[in-house]
Symmetry: none
Subunit: 510 residues, 2 copies
């Protein structure tokens, strides 16, 4: 049968290098496991690695892996026996190679998509974008259609330098900006140039941690409290720290001014680098945007941004505002030509920014997101007044704080009602001590998961609710379904969750 | 104008930490204020906080702030009016950011660019491309603006499946195509999925070998002869072989039919993979295009292509036609979302292909390239009849075979005349035994390089002349300059090269 180390090796090469994104990581992992069994790469009877090991290897939350195992046992692909771990089921022989009927993404598409991080695709400003494309193509010099300079088009770097100074308080110039195909690409490049280890907020995108790990950069978790990341925990060993100062991802608070100053002091004293992931800095609702930390010290902070939330993740354009000393090395890491970002898209975005269309789109979406946030808060006030909502001053998502031990069952209850939503635990660093509350309020306590499959770490329970994705027509229905899936007030920790009674029975969901 | 609280916030994030230290606080505050105005973070007309407030916020003496304000009013940065406080002066607009004079690439641009692989950027079909963009944006479903499926847009995969079957004899279907951002991206993904080692033609792109090596995939060189790569040298150890069957890169011949069959046999017998880099398969001049090897056995050959030579390297779109068993793993290696290729560009290219504009552009460029090839051959016949020209039946470049030992000096002589051109040695695998001739004719022999800087391996000498890049007006001049840089007939091996006398003195090159 071999040891589970063999299986780990098979999985290591079979699984997506970057089990990415805010998407449904569990579904991707399950698809990869099914595929490995179906293809025979994982033989019948082969032992799988313990879920904790696999989670650590892949940079996933433990319960993501545990859930995937459990569901595949239920589907008959895997078998679990007391004391001998999880194995490939004996009868799960390789089937005839058949057509994949549908991609996992399509198969898993929910009725109500409340997964964070995705703007409503129907809000893309097609007409304005096309107008920019027309002007950009007409004005482009011929050399725009030759091999691309890896810095990125100068037109877009100039446009962004002006925009980021105005909108984000960045201190920059076109020569300090290097374009990339999104924040993920930027992180890859920085990992190559800076090396590890890095510190990272204990709550954050597993996708980002996985990316860094795949480039040999380990991350260690940095705890947080009501003022944001505990940057006093940074040491000389950390080569860089990955932060979301405008709006901690996903828990939601801004980094306190004293912490901003302290992290810059740390960088100056140690030569470390602050990587400021400004993923939704433009979407602040109750007061002015919190300026970028980069403005405090452009020589020690990288400002990392993209159009993925402000415009569309389908346009693969991001940027880094870099300390001068890093511009050369980052460009060198890109290679001697632009390999990823299309010049015509870069030129179109440059026109879109300079013409003011980008600012108009951001303002329009900010209004819409604010309205949706208000609708979410009102719905919860009505249907689940016991649920505290955090992180709503900004962004495209909020965190619903749940009683300890109810997160997994709440996610499953939501899924049964056609609501795709993620748990806070999906974002916790595997090595985190966890459980620190964001705002004033009690510690999360040793949350014991429903099925006892997640004994440690003690984590806060919560739902990360993205409110940007549904269409205008679909959003109210999504809120109704969410309400029905929330645990009722005051069940004992770990008790089974039934749909909340506080909400009146909604009409049938299509 | 907004309240001064906005300005206070800008200042709060902009002011340096040194304000709390010793030293001339007034000077530091003034520098920070100037900087905020110059950069635009404090807009013209913006109200500043009352000096008392700012002093309290910053822990400074009131008259330090009052003095700083007064001096900046005196300098013209700020304006003070009775009763309305202090404001940023209206004319204190952000200064133009200092221009970097030129990028390194521009600085190094030669007068005559005969480096292979780059289509003339002025030939990009802007109008037709924009028309496709307009239709594509209008027709796109909303989900095109959401996170992208890593397979690539179905519209483009359908378009390419049809096109590649017609134009390249590929056996494919949309489900077997995975889009990528160019051949390099495709090779990266295949390296991750297939693992090493690979065999590769001894002449090839160092860039590709380097990419593979950076993913842990070593390459070993496969010699060649008049029939192309010696695929009989493939073994069970080789996990894959990288070939350019339509037009060996850069030496120029097609892979013989017997070799095509043999390489497929090898793949079937060993489970190895044939990676067919179809980099210029559409540009064949003297007869029908040589069909893709992939058509012989779609389950053992990957067809790798892109628009970089047919349309523009500035559009970062490529494709892989994959064996069914590799579709899942390659998509998994891409991650669970599209990270690199823009959906709007993919949709635009889909329309461009389906509408026939792509075929028209390829035919137009094929005519132009054929004409340029003929001009090159005629010029050489006139000015350097002793120089044999190889690989001219197809593609965007030709190889000029030089007497042994003269390659490096010929490249240098060309550079002195403003001609950028590469030597055949630039493409030789470092471990190659080298020196095998492409066409019928004597073995290259142990060519000892002129300056003794390349003692081994013994390699053929030649220039790789790309004829696609110069503008229509610039091409004849580029040919004249090339002629002048070629070594004269019959110097002893290793002798110093002087400009060839066979060509009449051309007019001065601009």
């Amino acid at each position: 049968m071999g040891s589970w180390a063999d299986s780990a090796e098979v999985l290591g090469s079979a699984l997506p290098r970057e089990l990415s994104g805010a998407g449904n990581r569990r579904a991707v992992l399950m698809a990869a496991l099914r595929d490995a069994v179906r293809s025979g790469r994982l033989a019948p009877g082969a032992r799988l690695p313990p879920y904790r090991s696999l989670a650590a290897d892949l940079g996933l939350a433990r319960n993501t892996v545990a859930d995937a195992y459990a569901e595949l046992v239920a589907e008959g692909w895997l078998a679990a026996r007391q004391g001998s771990g999880t194995r490939v089921a004996e009868r799960a022989a390789p089937a005839a190679p058949a057509h994949r009927p549908r991609t996992p993404e399509l198969a898993a598409r929910p009725v109500h998509d409340l997964v964070q991080g995705r703007p409503d695709p129907s809000a893309f400003p097609r007409t304005a974008w096309l107008a920019s494309a027309r002007r950009a193509l007409a004005a482009a010099p011929d050399d725009a259609f030759g091999p691309g300079d890896p810095h990125g088009r100068p037109e877009l770097r100039r446009a962004l330098a002006g925009y980021l100074a105005r909108a984000r308080g960045a201190r920059t110039a076109p020569e300090r900006i290097v374009l990339c195909s999104g924040a993920a690409h930027g992180l890859r490049l920085l990992a190559q140039v800076v090396g590890g280890p890095w510190a990272a907020e204990e709550y954050g995108l597993p996708f980002h941690r996985g990316l860094l790990a795949s480039h040999g950069v380990g991350t260690r978790p940095l705890g947080g409290d009501a003022d944001g990341a505990r940057v006093d925990g940074l040491t000389r060993r950390d080569r860089a720290v990955l932060l979301t100062p405008a709006h901690q991802f996903p828990t939601g608070g801004p980094l306190h001014a004293a912490r901003r100053a302290a992290v810059v002091d740390w960088a100056r004293a140690t030569g470390g680098l602050v990587v400021e992931d400004d993923y939704d800095g433009e979407f602040r609702y109750d007061r002015q945007p919190v300026g970028a930390v980069q403005g405090l010290d452009p020589e020690h902070v990288v400002l990392l941004g993209s159009v993925s939330r402000s415009l569309s993740p389908a346009l693969r354009i991001g940027w880094m505002v870099l300390p001068q000393r890093l511009v050369g090395p980052v460009v060198a890491a890109k290679g001697d030509r632009e390999q990823f970002s299309s010049a015509t898209e870069q030129l179109t975005l440059a026109d879109f920014v300079v013409s003011g269309a980008y600012g108009r789109q951001v303002r329009r979406m900010r209004q819409r997101h604010r309205r949706r946030r208000d609708q979410l808060a009102a719905a919860l006030e009505r249907c689940a007044p016991h649920v505290r909502v955090a992180g709503i001053a900004a962004g495209l998502h909020a965190v619903l704080e749940l009683p300890p031990g109810t997160e997994r069952s709440a996610v499953r209850a939501a899924a049964r009602l056609g609501v795709a939503v993620e748990g806070l635990g999906d974002y916790l660093h595997p090595d985190a001590e966890g459980g620190l509350p964001l705002g004033p309020g009690g510690r999360g306590g040793p949350g014991v998961a429903g099925a006892g499959r997640r004994p440690a770490p003690p984590a806060r329970d919560g739902l990360v609710v993205g409110y940007a994705t549904p269409s205008e027509a679909g959003y109210p229905k999504a809120l109704e379904a969410l309400c029905r899936s929330l645990p009722p007030a005051g069940p004992p920790s770990g008790a089974p969750v039934t749909p909340g009674p506080a909400s009146p029975p909604p009409p049938a969901v299509p």
